[in-house]
Amino acid sequence: MANVITDETIEYVGILAKLALSDEEKEQAKKDMGRMLDYIDRLGELDTAGVEPMFHVFPVQNVFREDVVTNGDEREKTLQNAPGAKDGMFVAPRTFD
C-alpha cells in the first residue's frame, strides 16, 4: 500500500470533519482511506497537462436573482426543528470565553 495513513492524519481529518472515532474505528479508517487513496492515485497515470479542471459540466454563467425582498417573517419555520431554542434564537453551546 503506497498511502500509509498515520494516526496524526486521522486525528487531523477528525478535527476537519468533526468526527470522534473510537480506536477501532480509527484503525479501520486508516485502512479504508489508504486503500481509497491508492485507488485515487491511479488518476496520476493520466497526463492532464493543459486540461482545465471542470467545475461545472455546462457553461452556465450569470444566474442571478433581482434585489427584491420576497421573504417575510419565517421565524417559526426556521426554528421548528431546533434541538434547543430560546427567545426566538437557536441554543448553542457556549462560544464566549
Binding site: 476537519l16 479504508d32 485507488y39 493520466l46 492532464t48 482545465e52 479542471p53 459540466v57 421548528q80 434541538p83
Partner: protein, 486 residues
Amino acid sequence: MDILAYSAVELSAAIREGSVTAVEAMEAVLARIDEKERVLNAYVTIDRERALKAAAAAQEKIEKGELTGPLAGVPAAVKDNLCTEGMRTTCSSKILENFVPAFSAEAVVNLEKAGAVLIGKTNMDEFAMGSTTETSAWGVTRNPQNTDHVPGGSSGGSAAAVAAGECFFALGSDTGGSIRQPASFCGVVGLKPTYGTVSRYGLIAYASSLDQIGPLTRNVADCAAVLEAAASHDPKDSTSIDRKRVGEDTDFTAALQDDVTGMRIGIPRDYFGEGLDSEVRSAVLAAAEVLAAKGAVVEEFDLSLVSYAIPAYYTIAAAEASSNLERFDGIKYGHRAAAYEGLHDMYKKTRSEGFGAEVKRRIMLGAFVLSSGCYDACYLKALKVKAMIKKAFDEAFAMYDLILGPVAPTTAPRLGESLSDPLKMYLGDIYTVAVNLAGLPAVSLPCEVDAKGLPVGLQLIADSFQEKKLIRAAYTYEQAHHKEMR
C-alpha cells in the same frame, strides 16, 4: 381490472374516465403496502391519513375538471432525501431522525401540481451513499424479486416500492448510478436526466455537481410522463437549466415512438471486459440485437478512460459531500448529542452518533482530498479527469446517437455480501458514474432475468439534453421485448 395492474398513466386515465377513483387507488396501494412492507421495508415513512386525504382532494379536482394531466390521482412515493413539507425527511440517517421540512422539493411540488398523490418516503442508503440500501439507519430494504437479495441503491426503496406495487411510480436521485442500478436490480425503468433538468431545490445534497433527480417507473411511458411533470427550469436552483433556451423542450411523452430506424448506437468494448457477469453480458448484447432488428445501426467502439471514472467520481463526490454534510451539527435541526463538553465536543459527538460508517468514511476522505496538501493533486486532478471524460463522451456522441451497455457488472448481490469491502462495492459503479461526471442522461431498462430469477438491466446513454432519443429507443425496445416475451 386489478387496480395495481395498471401503469401510472393507465391508472390516471381510468380515474379520469371514472372507472376507478383516486381514493380506491390509494387504498389498493396501502393494502399492498400492508401485505408486503413487513418483509420489504421499502418505506421510511408512510402517512396514510395524509395520503387518503390528498387522494380525495385530487379526486375532487379531477371531477371538477381542474386536474387533467396523465398523472392525476396517481399514488407516488418519494425518496427520503427529497424534502416534503410537513412530512419527516431523514435521508435514512439518524442525524435527521425527526426532521420535518418547512418546504417541499421543487420536483415534489411539480408532481403534486400534476395531481400525483404522495404516499410516503422511501428507504435509501444513508445520504445516498451506497449501492445496496444497506447503509440506511432504518434497516435494509429487500429486493421484491428475491428477498434474499439487495434492491440496489441508493434509491433502493423507490425501486423496490415500484417493483412490488407499493406505489405506481417513485422519484429517486442519482449521483453515481443511484436510480439506474436499483432500477436494474429490481426490474423497473429508471432514468437519470441531463444535469440541470430537474431542480435540485429541496434535494438534500450528497454531491451537488453530480446529483440529479429522476423517475423510477413500471414502464417507459410512465417514465416519460413523470419526467415531463418533474422537470422545470427553477430560478431557486442556480444549476437548473432552461432547456428551451438550449433548444430542447421537455415534452418527453412526444418521444414515445416505436421507431429507431437509422439510429446509431455504439457499444463500448470497455464495458464488456473483465468483471462483467456472463449472464448480464449476454442479456445486454441480446437487447442490442433487438434494437438492431428494429432498424438501429449498432456497432462496437472504444470509449476511453472508463476505468478512471470511479476514482475521479469518488474524489469529487466525497469532497462535495464532506462540505455539504457540515450543516448537520446539532444546532439548527436533527440529532444533538445528549452530553458533551463545549462546542467542538458537541459537534463531534453529535456527528459521530448521527452518521453511519459509510457516511463517515466518505466525509473523512472528502475532507482529506480538499485539505491543503491534497487539493491540487487529488481534487483538481479529478476535475481535470472529469473534463477528459466529458470530452471522450463528446467524441462518442459525434459518432453515435446512443451508447448501449450494462448498468452493473452483476445482478443484485445477496444481502450483506457487499458491505464488507467498500472498495469492491465502489467498483460496481463502473458503468454508471461516468454519466454523472459528464452530466449526461441515461436510462436503465429491464431486459432479461438471470438463472437466479434476478433482473438484468440495460443502460442507454445519450448526449446532453437528448432524453427524447433515450425515450424513443427505450420505448421501441420495450415494445419489441414485450412482443417477444408474449
